[in-house]
């Protein structure tokens, strides 16, 4: 039969044997008034976002001279943050698309929040190239539009332009995928609010539900569309970070000019994204009491992916070093020795210990089932992956072929503030999402309930059906 599964099969939903209970548990934060903790957290994030916004305005007003860049280190904090945030986004698509194709049912309860994370992260990422232009209002020039500037066209040979296409496709496709998945859940909230007599809420969620009624004909189409979208999103997500890596790999700068970059960046992106998923899920499941849906087994599965991708990243670091030595290229060798023992060596060792050593702790079941330790390790992963991009970008640039043009780099308060501001943006969006939208995909989690029990209050809820 459709949902009845063997009792020995692993359960991804625990202590739940009614569909209605899932609806009640997931919509509870939406129905209740915001509590003090949520208000404080959102207020704090919004304040940080405000500070970041002020510094962005200052950057645009004064020019990017307020950053610590110089002619030698022309890319630093901004592109580091860009690559970092794009990478964070990758876990969401991996969970929602790749795991759907592989029929991994544990994705069902964490896909919604991870997709939200993807979208907010890509929004943060998109800010940085725009700001680095100095005149963001000319961002339109990135598009191949017929124009009167002597008919000036974009350079289709440039990976930077490929990035424009990749990131905008990624953002819009992820957004559509996310929204489409929420339509049936919006319908659920619409009808629940109508039953509770909350007309305005029902109207708002009803508007967003596009008139979804759960007809089998539409479910059949809906599932095919979801499947094809994941089939499209899977190569898309691999292409996005490959293209981001080509921003570096197609140049001739030692430390960047390497063919390992695309798979190395994709593995790193998934690694950092899953680190962020851990951070967010540990908090979300606790705060919204969703432990029955985001179970310990989920957290363990995520930890296992962190081990796998963390080891891949470690392998990539070592391959890079081996290749630098084996290539016999003087500059290539120098840049890698300089990376470890040069003026920015400290950032290299932060990266190495956070990305290669700490995730290996997840081999111990005691550690990956301890949420406090997992949370701490996930923060280490986030920090380490930020430093990976910093190391790649800054250490490769600061000592180039001509020793006379060697320079150092230190971020100004403006750059640090804008980075913090993007964290503010990310967290503000995530808090708003977790309060007003269904954090867990209700209809997909319902398919995981085995042998449902008859709802106790069926008759009480049988009102005259309304057209909401």
């Amino acid at each position: 039969m459709s949902h009845a599964e063997s009792p020995i099969r692993q359960k991804w939903v625990v202590n739940t044997d009614q569909y209605g209970q899932i609806t009640a548990d997931v919509t509870r934060p939406i129905e209740s008034k915001p509590n003090l903790l949520w208000l404080a957290a959102t207020g704090f994030s919004a304040t940080v976002l405000g500070v970041g916004t002020a510094l962005i305005v200052w950057t645009i007003y004064e020019g990017i001279g307020v950053w610590g860049l110089n002619p030698t280190v022309g890319w630093a904090f901004d592109i580091t943050n860009f690559v970092f945030w794009v990478g964070i986004g990758h876990a969401g698509t991996l969970i929602s698309a790749v795991l759907l194709l592989f029929r991994q049912k544990w994705r069902n309860s964490i896909n919604r929040a991870s997709e939200a994370m993807t979208i907010f992260a890509v929004m943060c990422a998109g800010l940085f190239p725009l700001l680095h232009m100095g005149r963001p209002w000319l961002g339109l020039w990135f598009l191949p539009l017929p124009n009167t500037r002597g008919s000036l066209w974009v350079n289709f040979n440039s990976p930077l332009l490929w990035d424009v296409f990749a990131i905008s496709t990624y953002l819009t496709v992820s957004l559509v995928f996310w929204y489409l998945g929420m339509i049936p859940d919006f319908a659920t909230i619409r009808d629940r609010m109508a039953q509770k007599g909350r007309k305005i809420a029902s109207m708002i969620y009803g508007g967003m539900a596009f008139g979804w009624e759960g007809s089998s004909r539409n479910w059949s189409r809906f599932e095919v569309v979801s499947l094809i979208l994941s089939g499209l999103a899977t190569p898309l997500v691999l292409s996005v970070h490959s293209i981001v890596s080509m921003d570096f790999a197609t140049s001739v700068i030692p430390g960047w000019h390497t063919t390992i970059f695309p798979p190395y960046f994709v593995a790193g992106a998934i690694f950092s994204g899953f680190g962020m998923v851990q951070t967010l899920m540990i908090v979300t499941r606790k705060v919204y009491k969703l432990e029955n849906y985001i179970t310990m087994d989920h957290m363990e599965s995520i930890a296992k992916i962190v081990i796998a991708t963390g080891s891949l990243v470690g392998l990539a670091y070592m391959t890079e070093f081996f290749t630098a030595w084996y290539s016999g290229s003087l500059w290539e060798r120098y840049i890698f020795i300089n990376r470890m023992f040069g003026p920015f060596g400290w950032s290299y060792w932060i990266m190495f210990s956070c990305n290669v050593i700490t995730p290996q702790l997840f081999w111990f079941k005691k550690i990956r089932t301890n949420m406090v330790l997992t949370f701490i390790i996930s923060i280490f992963v986030n920090v380490g992956m930020w430093f990976e991009r910093f190391v790649i970008i800054v250490t490769s640039l600061h000592r180039d072929f001509l020793p006379s043009s060697w320079a150092s780099y230190a971020p100004t308060y403006v750059e640090v503030g804008i980075l913090l501001g993007t964290f503010g943006l990310f967290m503000t969006c995530f808090f708003l999402f977790s309060k007003y939208l269904p954090v867990v995909n209700m209809f997909e989690v319902k398919t995981l309930v085995n042998h449902p029990k008859k709802p106790a209050n069926l008759e009480e809820r049988a009102e005259e059906p309304v057209t909401a």
Binding site: Q18, P144, F156, F165, V173, L180, S215, A468
Partner: protein, 171 residues
């Protein structure tokens, strides 16, 4: 035009499928089933054919690929050819990333827009519900009353397969 429906309501998807099987055996035409989540294996009982949206997605994808290739080839080959160290003016390997992204962009958005049009969904549309609980935990088997001969037989099937409620509704 309003239709009169006979509704059998279940709280278990397995029972719903049992009912559909019994109804099919006795030759009753089921209008539709409304459920809080997709019931796998329901398609044969409702004569739901495999959707052609996949074909649509493929066509949109081809359109995207064509757009990508034409756009770049026109700009680089015809409108603004550039001589960069004597290299080919139309370097096709460089087209691959953008062509790929446009393929995905067109296929994904085209398919979703078509899905919304085919299913008649739009922002703010009023939902026509058989039962307000159908998006929560109730599975509704709807039968068009004008198209049945023996209503008592259907009611019998509904109650024997475990429907907790059998009602009528005009929508």
């Amino acid at each position: 035009m309003k239709k009169n429906f006979l509704l059998g309501k279940y709280w278990d998807p397995d029972a719903t499928l049992d009912a559909l099987k019994r109804l099919q055996d006795s030759g009753v035409l089921v209008y539709d089933v409304f459920s809080p989540f997709p019931i796998h294996g329901i398609e044969p009982y409702l004569n739901i054919k495999r959707t052609r949206l996949t074909v649509a997605a493929f066509i949109y994808g081809c359109l995207g690929a064509l757009t990508g290739i034409l756009l770049i080839a026109l700009v680089f080959g015809v409108i603004w050819p550039m001589n960069i160290g004597g290299k080919p003016t139309v370097p096709w390997p460089d087209f691959v990333p953008i062509t790929f992204e446009l393929t995905v962009l067109f296929a994904a958005h085209g398919m979703v827009i078509t899905f919304l049009i085919v299913g008649r969904y739009w922002p703010g549309k009023k939902a026509v519900l058989m039962d307000i609980r159908q998006t929560d935990d109730v599975f509704v088997v709807a039968i068009d009353k004008n198209k049945v001969e023996d209503e008592a037989e259907i009611r019998k099937v509904f109650s024997e397969t475990g429907a907790f409620e059998i009602t009528e509704k005009e929508v």
